[in-house]
């Protein structure tokens, strides 16, 4: 299909930057500030666009791996039910058309298990599950920091791989 979405987006960014933004009333502070934000967001999207599918698939693969490696649940009815719901969420992920939605569906089920284990789970198993979720969260936070490093908020951007390297698994 042509034109390529990246070309379409790049042309919008260039037009905004060189034609539209310079014409904005400098006395309209809201408009001026929003122009800066809009351009920054579009530039970030321009970089993300070719990588979006791979990024979400990477996150989902890690999450599914974490769930697969969880210890068998021991505990009360809430914990047992939450583990069953997590298994069902994972079973629906076969060949996901949308890895982002699948990630959040499985993630919510995992959150349900974390809450249920705090409620009536066996303490040793709860600790193991919490540790696995934390280890995953550390990896996920690093991926997200790399993904959004162009936003300019990161406290240590020099420590991060580029978006392209991160998605490539480096």
């Amino acid at each position: 299909m042509t034109p390529d979405p990246i070309i379409r987006l790049a042309s919008v960014v260039q037009t905004l930057e060189h034609v539209v933004v310079p014409a904005v009333d400098s006395g309209n502070l809201l408009a001026v500030e929003q122009c800066g934000v809009v351009l920054a967001q579009l530039r970030m999207l321009e970089r993300h666009m070719p990588l979006i599918g791979a990024y979400h698939a990477l996150c989902l693969t890690d999450l599914l791996g974490v769930v697969a490696a969880l210890p068998p649940v021991e505990g009360g009815p809430a914990a047992v039910m939450a583990r069953r719901e997590l298994a069902e969420a994972c079973a629906q992920v076969d060949d996901p058309a949308d890895p982002r939605l699948a990630f959040h569906r499985v993630g919510r089920a995992l959150e349900g298990l974390v809450r249920a284990m705090a409620q009536d789970g066996e303490p040793a198993v709860q600790r193991a599950i919490d540790a696995a979720v934390l280890a995953f969260s550390i990896r996920q936070a690093r991926r997200a920091r790399s993904w959004f490093q162009d936003a300019g908020f990161d406290h240590d951007p020099d420590s991060l791989p580029t978006v392209e390297a991160m998605v490539a698994g480096n």
Binding site: Q34, D130, L134, S137, I138, F148, F153
Partner: protein, 393 residues
């Protein structure tokens, strides 16, 4: 520190009331959920505001007219306009600022509470004087507050900074001058006798209980329940840890709730703080909460040696030692750690939940900014992971 887990060893599990939230905060949080159904929000124009101010002044018996209404920059959570006032008015209100809620924002707060606390701390610390407020949005459709305009800047004129004054850098002389005022004002806020301050819309946690901590976790967990669109298992991990380690607050104090660089004005020439701003998150709670807020990496910088400086001005060690010297209080490291986890938890809730849902539905005046700010969640998550790592090893 006696934690909830230790208390529960002696008390039944039912002791944790997960519905305990300050009544006024719950009321406006639930009202917001209904307001969302009205659809996208169109930012107000200056003529809209001028007309609304005429109605407001007439209603309040203020014999004056607003002139030259214009929008102010900044303000990720509120629409802000500045205008001149002509008529029979105290000179402190010759120029005023209108703070008005958009339909939704990064936080849902109460203009009535904000006006109450500004009146309570006037004369204690520098704050804008309150002219009037409309806490229920009867005159312009959205809650609002009008204060006198106070001169000053939120960042040095030769310093770049991000949205909301984040990442501003202060020079050595200016930083040193502002540091003592910044910490001194915090101590003064915490010394306010809130029971005699007319804070009618505030609830007071019981001393020697976990109320102060519990109400905070309950509130931000409710925000998540109502507004979280995407999964972030880390937040639920933090939620269960927070509930399991609720610290006891011996003596609640008045808290600013958002005490950081970007939320005060200063005069560059006099090197003096002219006004402490953004009192919308003010509540009564544990003094550790305001201190813990300063530790958030987003609100500071690391120097070449990797040492963290709050707002580029002072170290966290200096903050604690100076605060202890000024107040006579002793900072409990475990309680401070709990409130650092809470700080991460609530900042992520704001950015990961409320910002995204407002941007999704177009209910803010700066939807693009809210969607952009949501990316802060990545760095904040990293901070939260670090804080929890020592707890789950």
């Amino acid at each position: 520190m006696q934690t909830q887990a230790q208390r529960l060893a002696q008390e039944p599990v039912a002791a944790i009331d997960r519905d305990a939230i300050e009544p006024r905060l719950l009321e406006i949080l639930l009202a917001k959920q209904e307001r969302r159904k009205l659809g996208p929000y169109i930012p107000r124009t200056a003529p809209d505001i001028a007309e609304g101010l005429s109605v407001l002044f007439a209603r309040e018996g203020i014999a004056a007219q607003a002139r030259g209404v214009r929008r102010m920059g900044g303000g990720a959570s509120k629409e802000q306009f500045v205008f001149d006032v002509e008529g029979e008015i105290d000179p402190a209100f010759a120029r005023c600022v209108l703070r008005m809620d958009p339909r939704e924002g990064i936080i849902e707060t109460c203009r009535r509470r904000e006006a109450q606390v500004l009146r309570a701390v006037a004369g204690v610390v520098p704050v804008p004087p309150v002219l009037t407020e409309d806490g229920d949005g009867e005159t312009m459709g959205q809650p609002l507050m009008v204060t006198g305009f106070v001169g000053g800047v939120t960042k040095p004129s030769d310093s770049g900074a991000g949205p909301s004054g984040l990442k501003a850098r202060f020079g050595e002389s200016l930083g040193a001058a502002l540091t003592s005022q910044f910490i001194g004002h915090l101590a003064a806020i915490h010394a306010v006798d809130y029971r005699a301050a007319g804070l009618d819309d505030f609830a007071i946690p019981r001393p020697e209980t976990t109320d102060a901590a519990l109400w905070q976790v309950n509130y931000w967990t409710r925000v998540r329940a109502l507004e979280e669109t995407d999964s972030l298992p880390l937040l639920t991990l933090a939620e269960t840890w927070l509930y399991d380690h609720l610290p006891v607050c011996e003596q609640p104090v008045l808290l600013h709730g958002d005490y950081r660089v970007g939320n005060f004005l200063f005069d560059e020439d006099r090197q003096e703080i002219t006004a402490l701003l953004d009192w919308e998150l003010t509540h009564i709670g544990d003094f550790h909460e305001d201190l813990a807020y300063s530790f958030e990496p987003l609100f500071g910088h690391r120097d070449a040696d990797g040492v963290f400086h709050v707002g580029s001005m002072f170290t966290t060690e200096h903050l604690i030692s100076r605060y202890e010297a000024l107040t006579g209080r002793t900072v409990n490291p475990a309680t401070l750690h709990w409130y650092r986890v809470l700080t991460s938890y609530k900042l992520i809730a704001m950015n990961h939940c409320s910002s995204i849902i407002a941007a999704r539905d177009g209910t803010n005046h700066q939807n693009a900014l809210l969607a952009f700010l949501a990316s802060c969640t990545a760095g904040m998550s990293d901070t939260l992971c670090e804080l929890l790592s020592g707890e789950m090893a």
